[in-house]
């Protein structure tokens, strides 16, 4: 989950009232925000990806005001229609990035801390809703450096402008090759011959979405009026993003002017609230507390939503930026939050069902108990292992290998089809410990099927200088006889590089092969740097003691 670093005194100022540090720290977790660390006035807060508004202290302050009862209900966002702000969409963008939306935030001020937070929030939005800028991306600009109207169109790759944080003019290709954002997000526009661009009426480049803004319109602590533009391939996602930025800037003290959008498929954003009418009985049934509808309305308002009781139903008004709310179940969670999770008393109802372990679990446990009784220590290894241990060091057949894609860990790239290799690896890592060493493992192994078969195997291994085939065979037969009364035989088998020649066999139960047993070959032991004798066996328990 993402983390944001905030100053508690800033939050206190934003929340206003006479809120204390302790009140804030106590209430934060009940907004769903985890305090990861606290150092002086700096706190690190973990927030959920479904609430990007909580990535700034403005958003958090709005939430705190609600739960603390300082301000309740929606903060309305009046949008003035005066002023000649507009953007015209050229049809050439249709194929590459068809949508643009935006607004003008005016008469406000952002200090350096606020600008930094906004930039971080922008990155979170890009990674989350924006799907790494592919679906949608935001640009913030100093509106006073821009001559309206704007044009959203495309340009060829030799178009030049000074990018954000740049000092000289660069072509589109140079920006894609030389800047970090260009390298990271260039793939979004793929190999398009012409790329998206926003010009102002003086033909100045404002933005090259979704890569970088122009240096001309950089937002600083002197900026009073901001143009927010969001482009993308999904109109809904673009407006989602816009609404989050608006909610934050509104708390920061900005007013809003409409940005008229014209052109193919595009329209001026309405940013309309959503209305949900639902039966409050549902919430009582889910939470398990009889609550009056008016009480629920209070709870919703504490979560910065608007609500009212109409007849037997509740009408709830949801601001545009709360697009995480899908259905009455989401409103139920809001009511629970408004009520206070700490105020909900847990209740233990007697179970009307009788618990039961799975047959596989019970029988596998019986096998483990016998193995322990025979003096074996249980090992646990990963089912995801390495090609080196599973196939190379043991010289096993790798034609049916099952690999995972792009593992971050070299030791975990292949699904095991056998347990013995990992047990040999365990012996290899314990050569300095006293002998005899006796290990067993029960666990899932994988093989190609439809599309994959999973079965449970048992592997047992003994290492010390005087161990022998007879010892491991006696162990194997005892393990199957105890509790399960299974009689097993060993039959000479064709050569297998894991075992010493003439000292291994196939294990048969009722004329069916269930496993292999033998003395581990000295070449294999050498690969594992084991300097003593090792014997072992592996059998498939699935189909033998359970289905």
């Amino acid at each position: 989950m993402p983390v944001v670093e905030l100053n508690i005194n800033r939050i206190r100022k934003l929340v206003s009232g006479n809120v204390t540090r302790k009140q804030i720290l106590d209430v934060l977790p009940f907004l769903g925000l985890d305090i990861e660390s606290e150092e002086g006035d700096e706190i690190r807060i973990e927030y959920s990806p479904n609430r990007p508004d909580y990535s700034t202290d403005y958003g958090i302050a709005t939430g705190l005001q609600g739960l603390l009862g300082i301000k309740k209900g929606i903060q309305k966002t009046p949008i003035k229609k005066k002023g000649n702000y507009s953007i015209k969409v050229d049809s050439t963008v249709t194929k590459i990035r068809p949508y643009v939306t935006g607004i003008i935030a005016s008469n406000g001020k952002l200090d350096d801390v606020a600008i930094k937070q906004l930039m971080n929030m922008q990155e979170d939005l890009h990674d989350g809703i924006g799907r790494k800028r592919k679906k949608s991306s935001i640009g913030l600009h100093d509106a006073d450096k821009i001559s309206f109207p704007l044009t959203y169109t495309t340009v060829s790759r030799d178009h030049k402008f000074i990018p954000l944080n740049g000092s000289t003019e660069q072509t589109i290709d140079e920006i894609l090759a030389n800047t970090e954002v260009g390298q990271n997000y260039g793939s979004v526009i793929e190999n398009a011959k012409n790329v998206p661009i926003i010009f102002d009426s003086d033909q100045n480049t404002i933005s090259f979405p979704p890569i970088i803004n122009s240096g001309l319109t950089t937002v600083t602590s002197n900026t009073k009026n901001i143009l927010i533009e969001v482009t993308g391939i999904d109109k809904e996602a673009a407006e989602d993003m816009l609404s989050v930025v608006i909610s934050i800037l509104q708390t920061a003290g900005f007013e809003f002017n409409e940005l008229k959008i014209t052109g193919n498929k595009n329209s001026t954003p309405q940013l309309k609230e959503k209305t949900m009418i639902y039966d409050p009985k549902f919430t009582s049934e889910i939470i398990g507390i009889e609550m009056s509808p008016s009480n629920m309305v209070t709870c919703l308002k504490k979560c910065r939503l608007d609500a009212s009781v109409k007849g037997k139903k509740i009408t709830c008004i949801i601001p545009r930026y709360r697009f995480d709310i899908f259905s009455p179940m989401d409103l139920t969670e809001e009511i629970a939050l408004g009520y206070g999770i700490a105020n909900i008393e847990p209740k233990l109802s007697p179970s009307t069902t009788i618990g039961q372990k799975n047959d596989v679990t019970i029988k596998t446990k019986l096998i483990s108990q016998t193995a322990v009784g025979l003096g074996f220590l249980e090992a646990m290894n990963s089912s995801l292992t390495s090609k080196k241990v599973l196939y190379e060091m043991t010289k096993r057949d790798s034609s049916q290998i099952i690999s995972v894609l792009d593992s971050k860990s070299q030791e975990h790239t292949i699904l095991r089809d056998s347990l013995l290799p990992s047990l040999l690896d365990n012996l290899s890592k314990n050569i300095h410990e006293s002998y005899p060493q006796k290990l067993f493992e029960t666990g899932v192994v994988f093989s190609k099927g439809k599309p994959i078969d999973e079965s449970i195997n048992l592997a047992v291994i003994i290492a010390y200088k005087d161990t022998s085939y007879s010892e491991i065979k006696a162990i194997m037969q005892s393990l199957l006889r105890t509790n399960f009364k299974i009689n097993s035989e060993t039959k000479t088998s064709k050569n297998n590089e894991l075992f010493s020649k003439g000292r291994h066999a196939d294990i048969f139960v009722n004329e069916r092969k269930v496993g292999e047993i033998g003395e581990i070959d000295s070449n294999i032991l050498e690969n594992f740097r084991i300097r003593t004798s090792v014997v072992g066996f592996e059998i498939k328990l699935s189909g033998l003691i359970f289905d």
Partner: protein, 465 residues
């Protein structure tokens, strides 16, 4: 009275009957027993009132580096007098001849002994001999000790010794505790040959034997499974390899969600499930995604095989197939995340998840089950915080107070399945779901701070845990 003597006791008795009053070291030499065996034997004999142990402290003195130097060249004050024999000298002259701290010591002691006088002449101080310097008691003591080690009793002038001890590195004082063992009268007359033998050294060290045992993590898994069963939950099993349909789509995770990317989830190379679900399940899930997430859902994405990222795919599939009216079920097993392995992250770990459908399926019931679960684990301080999970709403996390760490830690998560998850699968009632990782609980139990230890199969840990 016939007594049983261990061979060790016999040997010590016999030796002491011949030569009384020996140190343990002497006894070790004379009996050819190890010093530990001798010590044990003495203790046994003492308890039987056969041996007496006298402890005494012996203090000895020898010369330290400065003492040895003075033995050869004289004390600093004597060196000074030797310099002044022919003519008086200035401070500067003396200082350059007597290096370091020697100067101050020499002037101070020579003056104290009344050997020298100091006259101020212009800015110079001139030192000359006042009277004939005789040998001091300290000098006598120094030459008496010489290169020997002497005992405290041999020191005839304790005052001189006190002075020398106060000067650094002149004398090395050693204090040693010695034990002298003697026999009681009863022991002296004992005939050891008449005593019956056959006793053994019951206190001697023996080689270690390690108990065979189940894996400590497996023990924790079993303990948690047992608690679920006690709470009325029945166990279901499911595959670790799953189609994306059950791991993600059925749980309302949009197909372009970051959690579904290669960098978080293990996809199986070139493997897909042709028919991940029934055609109506596919149709309903697909339309729930299209409607709520507003995108174009693709069957091909849902056919990709993954290593399950949670056990929820097993429980949701069971619900969709069995549609039970009233049930408590759980699923326990390995889950996978494509992460870098570290002391707190594994690519593969155990998770348990329980669900409740039917009666008593309110948020309060869910919290009640949690509290009872933790109580059975011995954790009584429990609180709940809201949190976010993609497929439950409302969602809570449990915070449990750990006495040893002195802080609240996050354990299992819980929630009620979203209607967007249950409705398309034909499940009409609310479903409570809760669960979490088991290694975390096992780490607290075994006081480990590196989760990798569970899968290292390090014998010294397994044998000792």
């Amino acid at each position: 009275m016939s007594q049983v003597f261990h061979d060790i006791e016999k040997k010590i008795l016999e030796t002491l009957q011949q030569v009384p009053n020996q140190t343990p070291e002497q006894l070790s030499t004379n009996t050819e027993l190890s010093i530990d065996q001798v010590r044990r034997g003495i203790e046994w004999l003492r308890l039987k009132d056969l041996a007496i142990v006298d402890e005494s402290q012996k203090i000895t003195f020898s010369l330290g580096p400065n003492g040895l130097d003075s033995l050869k060249n004289g004390l600093p004050e004597r060196k000074l007098i030797n310099m002044l024999k022919d003519e008086p000298k200035t401070f500067d002259q003396i200082r350059s001849a007597l290096s370091g701290a020697g100067f101050n010591v020499a002037i101070a002691n020579a003056k104290k002994n009344g050997w020298i006088k100091i006259e101020k002449n212009n800015s110079e101080s001139l030192v000359s001999i006042k009277e004939k310097p005789i040998e001091t008691p300290e000098e006598k003591l120094l030459s008496f000790i010489g290169e020997k080690t002497i005992s405290q009793e041999q020191v005839s002038n304790p005052l001189a010794m006190k002075i020398l001890l106060s000067r650094p590195n002149y004398i090395i004082e050693t204090s040693e505790k010695t034990k002298t063992i003697s026999l009681t009268d009863a022991a002296l007359s004992l005939d050891t040959s008449a005593s019956s033998s056959g006793a053994i050294d019951v206190e001697a060290d023996v080689p270690s034997i390690f108990a065979a045992r189940t894996h400590p993590l497996q023990d924790t898994i079993d303990e948690i499974r047992e608690i679920f069963v006690n709470l009325g939950f029945s166990e279901i099993l499911g595959n670790m390899t799953q189609s994306s349909f059950w791991n993600f789509d059925a749980l309302f995770t949009p197909q372009d969600h970051p959690a579904r990317e290669l960098q978080d989830t293990f996809y199986l190379e070139n493997l897909e499930s042709k028919n991940p679900a029934t055609s109506s399940q596919i149709k309903n899930v697909s339309s729930s995604h299209n409607k709520n997430w507003k995108y174009d859902w693709k069957l091909s994405e849902s056919q990709k095989m993954v290593l399950r990222t949670h056990t929820t795919c097993v429980t949701i599939k069971h619900l969709a197939e069995q549609k039970p009216e009233n049930a408590r079920i759980f699923s326990l097993g390995r889950v996978f995340r494509n992460e870098k392995v570290s002391y707190k992250h594994l690519v593969e770990f155990n998770q348990i998840e329980g669900i409740v459908i039917g009666n008593n399926t309110t948020l309060r019931d869910l919290m009640g089950i949690q509290k009872e679960f933790y109580k059975k684990l011995g954790l009584t301080k429990v609180k709940f915080w809201p949190t976010f999970f993609p497929y439950t709403e409302p969602s809570l996390q449990t915070m449990v107070y750990n006495e040893k760490l002195g802080k609240w830690i996050e354990l299992f998560g819980m929630g009620i399945f979203r209607p967007e998850v249950t409705k398309p699968l034909g499940i009409d009632k609310p479903v409570l779901a809760w669960g979490g990782g088991i290694e975390r609980i096992a780490m607290l139990k075994y006081e480990l701070d590196d989760v990798r230890e569970f899968y290292n199969n390090n014998l010294s840990w397994l044998r000792g845990a």
